[in-house]
C-alpha cells in the first residue's frame, strides 16, 4: 500500500481511537454520576480523616514546616548556603537550557515523523499528477502541531540566549523562611557577559491553580501581590550587585500548597540585557505563618 493511503488509514484510526476514548470518558463520568445518585459512597471527609490518623495518604509533600502539621500544607522551599547572606534561593522553574533541550527534542521527534509523511505525500502528488486532498487534510493538524512546536523551540532558544547573556543571577536572603512583619536583607548579584540594566527586584505572591473546568487540565498562574525591594534611583535601576532591605507587610498570606491550589512566594528579578531584551526570573522562598 502506498504511503499516503495507509497513512490516511492510520491517521483516521488514530482519530477514531481518540474520539472513542473521549466519548468513553464522558460516558464513564455520566455512569459514575448515576451510580453516585444510587449508591452511598464514603464522604470525602471520612477518608481524609483516615489519612490524618495514618491509615491513608495525605498531601505528599515531604517537606513541611513543623507547625504545618494536621494535614496543613506549608511547603518549606529548599535553599543553599549563600556567599554573602545566609540563604541562596533557587530558580522557580527548570533552567532555560533544560527547557530548550526538552522542547527541541519534542519538536525534532514530531517533525521528523510528520515530515517523512509529508515528503511521501509530495512524491505521490508529483508522480500521480493528481491531488491527494484527503491525505493532505488528515495531515494538516499534525503539521500545525509541528509548527507550534517549532515556534515553542524558537521561543525557548531566545530565552536560553537571554539567560546565557545574563549569566548566573544569584539571589540571597538573610532570613528564611520569611514571615509577615519580618525584615530581611536581600542581595542580588550577576555573573554574565551582558549586564542587567533597569533592574527591578520585587517580593511577589503568586496564586496557582489547576483549572479542571474544560476538557483538559490547565495550569493558571497569577501574580496577586508585588512589593518593590529597594528604590530604583535612575531609569536604569540600581547597579549590581544589589543589596537592600525588605520588610514583609503584615497581613499577607502564608505559602500554601495542595494538589490543585497553591500560593507561592518568590523574589522576582526583572531587567534588560543587551539594552532592550527583557529578563525576568523568580526565585522561590517560603512565607511561613506568623
Amino acid at each position: 500500500m502506498n504511503g499516503p493511503v495507509w497513512l490516511a488509514v492510520v491517521a483516521l484510526a488514530s482519530l477514531a481511537v481518540v474520539g472513542f476514548l473521549l466519548l468513553m470518558g464522558k460516558l464513564l463520568k455520566f455512569l459514575r454520576g448515576v451510580r453516585d445518585r444510587r449508591m452511598i459512597r464514603p464522604a470525602p471527609e471520612s477518608y481524609l480523616r483516615a489519612a490524618v490518623d495514618g491509615a491513608g495518604e495525605g498531601p505528599d509533600d515531604p517537606e513541611r514546616l513543623p507547625d504545618g502539621s494536621d494535614g496543613s500544607v506549608v511547603p518549606l522551599v529548599e535553599t543553599r548556603p549563600g556567599k554573602v547572606l545566609a540563604h541562596a534561593l533557587k530558580r522557580d522553574e527548570l533552567s532555560p537550557g533544560c527547557q530548550l533541550g526538552f522542547i527541541l527534542g519534542m519538536a525534532a521527534f514530531w517533525n521528523v515523523i510528520v515530515g517523512s509523511f509529508l515528503f511521501q505525500l509530495w512524491q505521490q502528488w508529483n508522480a500521480a499528477a493528481a491531488a491527494h486532498w484527503l491525505a493532505a487534510l488528515i495531515l494538516a493538524p499534525f503539521v500545525v502541531i509541528g509548527l507550534r512546536l517549532i515556534l515553542a523551540a524558537v521561543a525557548a532558544l531566545v530565552r536560553w540566549i537571554i539567560d546565557r547573556s545574563a549569566g548566573r543571577v544569584a539571589v540571597e536572603i538573610s532570613v528564611h523562611p520569611l514571615r509577615p512583619g519580618v525584615t530581611a536583607q536581600v542581595y542580588v548579584a550577576q555573573t554574565g557577559p551582558a549586564p542587567l540594566v533597569g533592574l527591578i527586584v520585587e517580593l511577589v505572591c503568586i496564586e496557582e491553580v489547576t483549572d479542571t473546568a474544560g476538557m483538559r487540565e490547565a495550569l493558571v498562574r497569577e501574580t496577586v501581590a508585588s512589593y518593590p525591594i529597594g528604590d530604583p534611583a535612575t531609569n536604569d535601576g540600581p547597579a549590581l550587585p544589589f543589596s537592600a532591605t525588605v520588610t514583609v507587610p503584615t497581613g499577607v498570606m502564608h505559602s500554601f500548597t495542595a494538589p490543585n491550589n497553591a500560593i507561592s512566594w518568590a523574589i522576582r528579578v526583572r531587567g534588560r540585557v543587551h539594552g532592550q531584551i527583557p529578563y525576568c526570573e523568580d526565585f522561590s522562598l517560603t512565607m511561613a505563618p506568623e
Partner: protein, 150 residues
C-alpha cells in the same frame, strides 16, 4: 429530594485564631429520617474557585446504622475541635480557602440514596477578626502569567 431532614448546625464563635477551639452543636429536629445510614460531622478546610477542590478534614465523627452507632447518636450533639495553625482563611483571586463545620446525613428510601448537607463556615486568621486574608488591591500592571497545558 424526598423528605429532606432539617439540619441545624451552629457555632459559638465564627472568628477564630490558630490553635483556638471551634465549638458548637448540631441537632436534627425529630431525629434522623427513616432509612438513615449515617450521620457524619467533620471540621475541615476546603478550597473553592476554578480549580479542582482540595479538602482536608481535621476532625471526623460518624454514627452509622451498619455498626449500630447511629442508635447512640446524641441529638443535640455538642462538639469542640482544636484547630491547627494553618491554613488561614483566604479570599484570593484564584485560590480561596474556607474553614467549615459540616454535618452530613445519608439515608435510603425506595432503593435510592439521598444526602443532606449543612455547612457552617468560620474564619481562621491570626487576627481572629473574622476577615479572611486577601491579596492587596490589584494594580494595573498585575497580570495573569499565562496558561500552560498540563
Amino acid at each position: 429530594m424526598a423528605d429532606e431532614p432539617e439540619l441545624r448546625l451552629e457555632l459559638i464563635r465564627t472568628a477564630l485564631r490558630p490553635g483556638d477551639t471551634v465549638a458548637g452543636a448540631f441537632v436534627i429536629p425529630g431525629g434522623p429520617p427513616p432509612g438513615t445510614r449515617s450521620v457524619e460531622f467533620s471540621a475541615l478546610w476546603r478550597t473553592s474557585g476554578q480549580a479542582g477542590e482540595d479538602l482536608w478534614a481535621i476532625d471526623y465523627r460518624a454514627w452509622r446504622s451498619d455498626d449500630g452507632s447511629l442508635a447512640g447518636l446524641p441529638n443535640p450533639y455538642s462538639f469542640t475541635v482544636p484547630l491547627p495553625k494553618v491554613p488561614w482563611s483566604y479570599d484570593g483571586r484564584l485560590v480561596k480557602i474556607h474553614w467549615v463545620a459540616r454535618l452530613r446525613v445519608r439515608w435510603v428510601r425506595d432503593g435510592r440514596a439521598y444526602e443532606a448537607l449543612r455547612d457552617c463556615e468560620f474564619v481562621l486568621t491570626p487576627e481572629g477578626d473574622g476577615i479572611p486574608r486577601r491579596p492587596p488591591t490589584p494594580r494595573r500592571e498585575d497580570h495573569r502569567d499565562g496558561e500552560f497545558g498540563a
